[in-house]
Every structure is written in C-alpha cells, then in structure tokens.
Symmetry: C2
Subunit: 690 residues, 2 copies
Amino acid sequence: MDVKLSRAIFAPRSIAIIGASADSSKTASRPLRYLLDGGYLGSVYPVNPRVTDIAGRRSWPSIGALPEAPDLAFILLPADPAIEAVEACGRAGVAAAMVLASGFGESGAQGREREARLARAAATTGIRVLGPSCLGLANLHEHLVLTGNAAFAEAGISPGGVFCASQSGSMIGALLSRGRAKGVHFAGLISVGGELDLGLGELCEGTLDDPRITGYMLFLESLRDGGAIRRFAAGAAERGKPVVALKLGRSAAAAELATSHTGGLAGEDDVASAFLSDCGIARVDTLEALLESGTLLQCAVLPARRPRPATVGVVTTTGGGAALVVDQLGLRNVAVEGPNEKTSRAIRATGVEVAAGRIADLTLAGVRYEVMKASLEAMLASSQYDLVLTVVGSSARLQPELAVKPIIDLGNARGRLAAFIVPEAPEALAMLAAAGIPTFRTPEACADAIAATLGRRPARRLDLPKPRPAVPSHILDELEGYALLRELGVAHAPAAMAGDSDKPDPALFPAAVKVLGRNIAHKTDIGGVVLGVQSPAEFPAAARRVHEALALKAPALAARGLVVQRMVESAVGELLLGYRVDAQVGPLVMVASGGVMTEVLRDRALRMAPVDLDEAHAMLAELRGLALLTGFRERPAGDLDAVERAIVAVSRLAWRPEVVELEVNPLMVLPKGRGAWAVDVVARVAGPSA
Amino acid sequence: MDVKLSRAIFAPRSIAIIGASADSSKTASRPLRYLLDGGYLGSVYPVNPRVTDIAGRRSWPSIGALPEAPDLAFILLPADPAIEAVEACGRAGVAAAMVLASGFGESGAQGREREARLARAAATTGIRVLGPSCLGLANLHEHLVLTGNAAFAEAGISPGGVFCASQSGSMIGALLSRGRAKGVHFAGLISVGGELDLGLGELCEGTLDDPRITGYMLFLESLRDGGAIRRFAAGAAERGKPVVALKLGRSAAAAELATSHTGGLAGEDDVASAFLSDCGIARVDTLEALLESGTLLQCAVLPARRPRPATVGVVTTTGGGAALVVDQLGLRNVAVEGPNEKTSRAIRATGVEVAAGRIADLTLAGVRYEVMKASLEAMLASSQYDLVLTVVGSSARLQPELAVKPIIDLGNARGRLAAFIVPEAPEALAMLAAAGIPTFRTPEACADAIAATLGRRPARRLDLPKPRPAVPSHILDELEGYALLRELGVAHAPAAMAGDSDKPDPALFPAAVKVLGRNIAHKTDIGGVVLGVQSPAEFPAAARRVHEALALKAPALAARGLVVQRMVESAVGELLLGYRVDAQVGPLVMVASGGVMTEVLRDRALRMAPVDLDEAHAMLAELRGLALLTGFRERPAGDLDAVERAIVAVSRLAWRPEVVELEVNPLMVLPKGRGAWAVDVVARVAGPSA
C-alpha cells in the first residue's frame, strides 16, 4: 500500500459520511457524532439529500456536490445504493470508501451479483474499497473515530501502541473495552469486513511505518490473501513489532460458522496454524490471552530454533495456584522443569528449603522480599529456562507492594520474567503492568500466551514463483509421477510399463500389476490393481483381471497400458506424504500416518512449503503414529532419515509452479538404512492433458 | 460425621490456638487476630508458654491448663511438636484439631514416620484430625475465621451460600477474593490439607444439613477416599445442592505435580472424570468457570439421560463474539444448533431476518428490546434446546439497561437461559447477577460451565460389597478365566485343555496352542503361544515348541498343561475390555481400541462399574477407533450389541468382591449377529494361589 493511500485511510484530511442520519436515535447517526466528539480535526462532510443539516453541520445532497474530493468516505447506505455511492465516490476522486452494508458474497446469488458490481465499481473508477460489512476504523493518535460501534462513544480513550485488525466488526468494540480494563491501549482499530478489495494484510501493511504502533492484535475468522498477510507479518518482524492472532475455527462447528458468517472459505484449522506460525505470528486460543500477551511478546526474545521444547521455570508461594498454570502449560506442550542442582543450591542459600520437583515452591517463606528476589535471580541466572514465571498468592492482595516488589525490582530481565497473580489483586496487577512485567490474570490465558510466545518462530519472507492457474489441470500417469519424484530425489519401488503380451522383468516380482494412465486418482476403486503377482508367468492372468475389471467399472477410461511394480514386503510401516497449493495461503507439505490411522485419526503434520530437514524432523515428531516406526514391539526401527529427506524433497515443489498437488500414498518406510519408497503417486499439474 | 463433631468443627463454642505468636509480624499471629477481628463470639484460648498475653488476651501455657476442653484446636507448631500437641489435645478431650504443619507423608521416610505417629495420636486419644497442611477454615455465617490466609484479613466479607473445600490451602484465599469480585459469596471455606484422618468427603458431608449452604465448590489435586466423596455427593444431590469441582491433572505434568505436592497418589485423570461424573459432580477445567458456574448449576435442570448430546441455541447481536463461544462449545462436544423452521418463523415475526445457520444472529436489530425479547422467547419455547445462550455485544456497555432488560424480564426461565457478555461491562454483569441469570465473562469459562452443567448426570449412590483385601492375590489360569467369563455371560473362542500326548478335538482347529497355568500374565513374552496350528496332527510339534520356549525363557514356571483354542479368523477388529478396583474410587470398567491403537493412542473409555447397556453404548461411542468396527472401507460392521453386553457383564464384577482385576485382550469383534469372543483373559482374584 502506498503512503498516499495509507494516509487517506488512517490519517485522512477530509471525510464524507454518506447516509449519515439526522435522527440521533438511529445507528446511522453515530459515526458523525463519535467523529466530532472524538475531536477529529479534518473536514467532515455528511451526505444526505433528505435533510439540510445534521448535528449542526451542513448536510450535502451528493458526493458530487462537495467542495473537494474527500480522502475517505464511510458509506452507511444499504447494499444496492452503497454500490452506487462507491461508484460516485470513485468518479469524484475519493481515495477510499468503507462500505458498512452486508448482503454481499455471503447471501447467495443476489449477494454474489452485488459483490461483482461492487468490484466493478472499484475497478473502473480506481477507488479502493474497505468492506463490505466494514464497521469502521479508529486512529486514536489522530482523534479519528469513524465507526458506529458503541464502545467508541466513551470519552477519555487514551491512545497507545497496539493496532488491532478484526474480521469481526463487533469485536473491535469488545476488544477496546476489555483492553481498557486491563490497561491495554490502542493506537488504532479496524474492522476489515468482507475484504472484497483491500484485505487485512494490505491494510495492516499500510500502518507498518507508523512509529506510534508497537505491535499488532488480529481477530481472524478465516484466512484470505495469505500473501498480503505474509508481507505484512514479515514487515512487522523486521520492525520488531510482534503480531498476535486469535483465529476462530479450532472446532468443526466454528469453522463452519466462520464460513457462513463471513462468506469466505474457512480453511482447515491446522492449515491456518501452519501459515500463521510460518509468518512469525503468535496464535493464541483464548480471548484473554489475545489481550494480555502483548507485553510478553514485546519483550520476550524471539527464540532461535531450539534443540528442545521451550522450558519454563516456576517460582511460587502457592503450590495449588502454580499447579493450575503447570497443568495448562502441560496441555500446550510447554515443559516445566524444576531447578537443577546448581540453581537449587542458590535458592537454598536464601535459607529456604525447596523440595525437589517440577516447581520451586517457596511456600510462605517466599512472601519475604529477599527470599523471593534471590530465588527469582537464581532461576533467571540458570540457562535452563526460556522463561521464569512467578506465581504470586494471597499476599499480592493484602500487601501488594511487598509481594510484587521483588519482581518489579528485578525488572523484566531480558524478557524472561512473567507473573501470574492467583488472587483478585488489582493493585498488584497495576503495579506490575506499570513496571512492564508481563502479567496474567488466569492460568489459562497465562499458559496460552506463554505457549504462543515461546512457540513463535522467525517470520519467513518467501519469494516463491507464482503458482500457474490450476484450470485446466491433469493428473500425471503413475510412471510420469515417478519420474517427477526421481527429479525431486524421492525413491520409489521399481516399476515398468508392460504391454499385455510382454514378459516383464523377473526382478520386479512379486509384483503389483496396475492400470497406467492419466487422470486416474483412485486405481483400486475401479479395479485397476492386482496385488501379489508372484512371477512373470502369472502376469498375463493379472493383466486380464485388470482389463476385465476396468471394462466393468470404468469403461470410458483411456489407459496407456499397465505398470508392473515390485511389492515392498519388508516395510516397517506406511506414511502418506502430500503437497498442495492452497488458494489462500500457498504451498503446503503434509505427512500423515498411513493406512487406517490416516482416515480414522487424521494424524497429520502440516507446514508451509518448502521445509528443511529440521522442520521435517519436527513434523514427524508431531505424529502420534510415529511410535509405530521407531521400534514398536518386535518391529525394526524405520528409516526416518529417508522419510525426512523425502518430506524436504516434496516440499521443494514450491519452486515448481506447474505442480498443483502431489500425493505419495503410501510411502513405505523400510528398516533403518534402507530408505523409504513410494508405491503410488498422484500428481496434478497445470495445463491440459494434451 | 455426627452432628456433634460437625458442630465442633464448623460452629465450635470454644477454640484453642496452639502456637499463637505475640509478634504481629509473624504469620503465627494471624489466626488469632483474624478470629477476633472477624467477630467470633465463642471462647478463644491462645496457647503459648513463652508469653503471658497475646493481643490483650491471656496466653495459656498448655492445653491442659485451660479451664475447659475447647471444641476445636488450631495447631500452628512445626511437625514434631504438633504431633505432641494433638496427643495432648486428645487427652484433654478436644473434639478436633487442625494441623498446619507440613513435613508429613510427602517428605520421605521421616515424613511417613511422622504421619504414623500423628495417626497413632489420633487413634489412641479419639481426637479427630484435620490436615496436616491444613491452612484453616471459615464459617462466615458464624463469624468464624480460623486461618492465617491473608485474604481473610479483609473487613466486610459478606456470607453467602457457597461452601468451598480445597486440597490446596493457598487457593481458599484466592477463591475468596476472586469470588468477591464476581459477586460469589461463600458460606464457608476449608483447607482440607493432607486428609490423614478427616477427608474432604467426610468434612463436606458434615455441612450438608446447614440450610445456609446452597451449593459446593471443590478444588481438587487428587482423589482420596472416593467412598466418602460419593456419600457426600449423593447427600448433596438429595438436598438439591449442586457440586462443582476443578481437579488438577489434565496434563501429565500436573498429575505428577499433584503427587509430589500433596503426597497422595494421583490417579489417571480419566479415572477422576469417570468418578466425579458418576457422583453427579460437575467437573470444570477453568478457574473462572469454577467461580462462575454456580448460578447455572443451581438453576439448570439436571438432565435426564438423553438420547442425543446436549444442545445449545445461541442468540446474538455480535457474530464474532458468538463464534468465540461456539468454538469453545464445539471443542467440548456441546452441539450448537440453529433455530428450526418453526422457531425461525417466530423470530422472523419480530421483523428480523435471520440467516440460516448455526446461530441466530440478529445483528444490530437485536439491540432493540422487543426483537431480542421475542427472539429469546421463541428459542426458549422450542423443544430443540437444553439451554439458550444470549451473547450480548457492545450495547451491554453503552446501554446496559437496554441491552440486558429483555433477558432480565424473561427471568431465568426454567434454568434454560444464560448470557455471555462480550465487551467489558461491569454494570450489565451486576444487573444480570442480581436477576439470577447465569452470566459469563469469557467464552472459555462460558463454554466450560455449560459443558459441565449439561454433561452432569444424576448422582449414583452405590452400595457395593466391600472389595476383599487384594494381598495376597493370584491370576487364574486361562480356562478358569473363561469359566468366570461364562458365569458373567461373556463368550470366548472354544478352548480345551490338552495333554502333550492328547489328540485334541478337530473342531478346535485351526488353533492357537498356549501354556496353561496360574499367575501367567504375558504368555507371549515367555514364548508360551504358538499360533496357526492347522490340524490335530500338527499339535505335538506345537506343544514341543511351547515347552522348549518355556524351558528357555521361564524355566521356573509351574504350568498345568496346554490349552488349545480355535483361532478366530473372521473378526472385524479387536478391543480390550478391562475391569479393576481402584484403591481410591472403587470398581472401574474400561473398553479400549485393540492392538496398535491401544498402546499408541490410549484410545479408551472408562466408567465406574457397574454400567447398563446405554452406558456401554456411550462408552463405545467415545472410542475414536470405533470407526473401524462400523463398516470401515470394505469391512463388514461388527457386532457392537454383543460388545455392549460384554461390557455390562464384565462391569458386574463390582458385585464380586473377590475379583480384583480382569482383562480380556483381545476381545474379537465378529460381524453383526455373530457375537464378540474373548481369546485371552487375565483375571486376578483375592486369596493365595493354593
């Protein structure tokens, strides 16, 4: 987004409010009122042909009648007149228009038709559009409050450093009010609506160079235009501005709701996780953590890739309260480790006995300033911990100065100190917030924020070739698929084409005999596979069986011939290895437990492609079914090194824009040192089948 | 607990504080101070031989010197002198003593020795003991505050209806202060500590007939004496007093922490869930829900066993805010359903268009009183819903009267209306609380409380025979095990004993040949199984192989002979069916996915035994691996009716106190109509092998 457009949206010198109401009981009267009450200093033009003045200001009959083309228009009209207004604004030279109305993409055929007209109005006039369903925006440093959301009616909203972008319009009000109660101050907030033209990524990118913005908070229902979000996130990372996101859709019900609610396509939730993680965005799951994680994200050092999971040390005066957080951290796979011998010795030097265990429980002795301070110092000095969390008990309420003073005096040492306050203790919370200590009010938000922060990874700026249009596309035949795998460096079981009357190479037996042809996705379903063919002598009969089955089940199939492939008999287990280009977020690589586990359990690990060997290793570690490949019961251990190399190889399809999708299923994992072999491959490439 | 003891603990007429300190900077000075400040009306005796008066009261040199035997003593001394004090109290006729000191069971050999001495002091003198590690108790209706917890130092704590019992001492203070901030008022709170003598169940039972107590809140680290908790819970249910519990240990880390922290044995977490559920106790996972679920539990009708999962209807003015709760409800398997045609028509009659979907999103129109009220009425009138949740947006903050009036005017209709307030809106929250509407502040706590409330079941009062002492015990041989299964009504594959030179019945082939003997838990590991013996002619060779393997791997084994069992070849899949008597909570029945899934995924469902067919059905439905038995890919569907009958049959071992443990692994599931067959069984019974 260029600077001029960014200024027009976030710091406009003039604004038109089209459809402003003179009736103060109407919602359409609010944006003008809030804008004026908020102390906006630019020019404001209410546009409403049916009245002559609104709130003491002249009301203009049309956008064309204004003395200048305003930078920004907020259009409060219903869907159809709103489209006309956008076109009029565009013709008049307005830089950007926010459309409040809903009733576009999400509302069936009529909605899609409106969406097309709105897009055309923008394209033909050059105006940029926010929305539809855009509930407004605020730039609090500029006294710009351009929304009807009731939360913005309040006086005394002090500006701060957080910029919030939300796909849900009503949430900007809730985040503003909840933030205030927690001492979270916003630089600005924006409801991005349906993202027809300007999307969340581009809008946020337009704010990156505002020095008053120190970090970002995103409320997401689904992902649209991943490329723009990635560019924004990379820009934010370069400027040291952390981004935290809450994305709906962890449950199937919510994923469906996001689809119907926003009219967009809700991706699978683990795709969103992989994408956000790859962009260096911290994803939280709780509303409280979205609001409370800012300080921790600001100060916590972005972890380098670690050889071990993130580790937290816990110092407390209240075992029960600490256990609440430890439980929640455990559920999020954050390790909590007790002090090692050296650290324990340093704590004991304060005169407190700390029992061996997962936390340093100082009990009541920890209420003493010197004991708590020295214990925290000892923990912070230890190289064991990525973060030291102090869990403060009832003393935080009765004697806030005493209870939190050791924490405040230590300061936020290298971003490695955080606090969870167990009782209700507003004073202690305020003191810690003022001192810049990341502080949490519930065990769930505390663990959520810590897991999201320590789990962050560096933002990746990917400059991949643009994927080719996938329409038309076709599926390679199996041997073409293997040729592609060989180019990538993925092994497969030996295979060769065979005519019906050929005598295939005995080295290929025992063999599978399969139909060979393009655009065949499921050979087995059409009877195109005969397994366990023991010798070349059995080949003709097998070939006959394939042909007979095909004649019955897929008479129209244009087969190229047959393929004979050696059966893999010494496999330890099987995996599924996949690659696809997601329309919103781009190329993805996936590995999943094979066979029954794939379908019943959806036991899979996903990453944005390409990945390196470390990442492939981490993917395998996520599979519950990995246990079957590492020496389960009497089985030998599988060649996981080969699997990791195969994952990396397939992920490099991200550099081959003609490949839309590829699935190796199964990938047979042989015993250690013997590799991993594809025994089927379905690869879809752009372009006609020829 | 008899009434006299209950009065002595919860409404004592006289109290001794042993080890009270005259130094007001010491923690040991607090209990006396808080007790006097709290306005306690009974007699108070500080006992401290080193001073003559404390806080203006005469200090007594010893418990024996007091003019009367007080009802209750709070002992603040360190562990060893505390034991002596308990004994002295017992001899003096004190009814109950609370021991503050820690350093008992949890602290190695010395701790266990102290624990034994403390138990002896109680047993020999007849005094009842609370603790060790008991941080005190409060009965706020009686102005009784007997604790050093700083949270109780505050003036103006108004009493209410909730009684809270906590295994974590420090949490009683945190719950008190957090409760106050949310308008939750307590009748009393107790830190039950290490439960050496009086446990949580018995203590809570002692409060059941207090009419001022309307419900219970439990903070649990582990389960001890399940029988007492069950009696308490059944009594609470009979009196219509709901019980909500937060139990630590969802994560492996916390389970371990609970073990080390309390010195008790932390059970597997799903055992705790099964037990609490069977007792009719609502289990929540978030601290906020523990505090906020009281009103919902009070008014929600205890569900009869349902033919379908609990269903919630959502009415909102804020799609994004509602989606937050829907997501959380989905994660907890609570169904959220859109209004059916009839309900939708009733809502449309208010003049609002509601899009088809999972929620009734009134958008801004719902801010109007009549629209919201009529829509809620329509939803409440529908038989679709167990609960109707209204999710209120920013208007709750700007115009609280307007936003929540329709909800308040409807009242808490048959316990089926609840509210989640999305913005920060303390006034709206207070109004709803005053009107008795269950109201929530975070989507997570809201969903947690709803899932726990709708998932409750009637408390079961079980009067099972007492289990026989399990030491000594022995494992039945396989044929004895089958005889037991036949008595229960569980089928098994045909099997018979065979001597080495016997000619076994041809009907048993193809067969497995296995070693037969008592106390053999893992036949395969010692080479005691040969599979796939095709005919009686092959039997001698198979018998030889078993004997040779045993001679090598288990030379000391005293085998009774061999068993020949027909191989089950047409099974759809396999399950594991188990029964055991847990030391804390009693008899449990378990069904688990068999084979690889059992070990890798721990895919299992647990219940307290005995269960009926409906419950057995529900257990199967919990298994992810069930998909493999209901017609997966080309497989036939399995005989799940037979599996359910087998679960019920095995669960009835709860009436056979001599059986300590039984495991059928595998239970082969045959195609529909053909049954389910045990092909191995390990049953442990009390008594010597003889």
